[in-house]
């Protein structure tokens, strides 16, 4: 198999991970609630780290939480999971493992 084939397989694995997140959230409602809470805390702490405590911080957090946690949660949640995996360098492990499992040397 050439490199392009491996890259397509690895992108397919990324896509599977991305699809698994909303599926889990839909199948297990507690996971949905817990994940939304985690996202809310993460967004609020991120905004607070940028502009500190205050009314502006709460307003900006509220707007971001509305868009990212309520309106587009099934799109944002997989992106957040992939971001976490990327931050922990786990995507490199997935790339390496998929490459080896798919027959690469």
């Amino acid at each position: 198999m050439n490199d392009r084939g491996f890259i397509l397989i690895i992108l397919g694995v990324f896509l599977l991970i991305a699809i698994a997140v909303p599926v889990i959230m839909l199948v297990f409602p507690p996971a949905n609630i817990v994940f939304r809470l985690i996202l809310i805390f993460t967004i609020f702490m991120t905004v607070r780290s940028y502009i500190g405590n205050g009314v502006v911080s709460i307003i900006v957090s509220a707007v971001l939480i509305y868009f990212l946690v309520f309106k587009w949660v099934y799109l944002f949640a997989p992106m957040y999971i992939l971001y976490i995996l990327l931050g922990m360098q786990f995507l490199s492990v997935i790339i390496w493992g998929t490459f080896r499992l798919a027959g690469g040397h």
Binding site: D3, T46, Y50, I51, L86, G87
Partner: protein, 138 residues
């Protein structure tokens, strides 16, 4: 079809707002760290914010998304894709022995896909230096 187009349009509009908010947060944090919370800092923040978020957003928006992607470490994934993944496979079907000893006919310049190889080039250089020290007859 129309619904899906509206969905995409709505998604892009909302993503634009969210990215603008994150860009505003970055500008605010930068100004706060460099100028503090004085009125001068607020004026500078407003000026730079207006310039970046409204006047030249078409340019700075793309730049900001690229900055975020690089900050997240997407370049590492690209390096994994194009360099680390096919590691140890020299192009042209050369094995390690051929790389160390060189191919007959002057083809001793292996072209590795990976910037981090298995040390074969170091072994080759050591072997060449040993040959030079001993001389061609030794």
């Amino acid at each position: 079809m129309i619904y899906s187009l509206l969905f995409i349009g709505e998604l892009l509009a909302d993503a634009n707002i969210v990215i603008k908010i994150f860009a505003f947060l970055t500008i605010a944090s930068f100004m706060k760290n460099h100028l503090g919370t004085s009125p001068m800092a607020v004026v500078a923040m407003a000026g730079v914010g207006w310039f970046i978020l409204f006047e030249f957003w078409a340019f700075f928006g793309g730049l900001f998304v690229l900055y975020l992607l690089l900050l997240f470490g997407v370049s590492g994934v690209l390096i994994d894709f194009f360099f680390v993944m096919p590691s140890g496979q020299p192009q042209g079907g050369q094995g390690p022995e051929e790389i160390i000893h060189g191919k007959p006919g002057g083809g001793d310049s292996p072209r590795w896909k990976s910037p981090v190889n298995s040390g074969a080039d170091v072994a080759r250089r050591m072997k060449q230096s040993q040959i030079m020290r001993r001389g061609p007859g030794g």
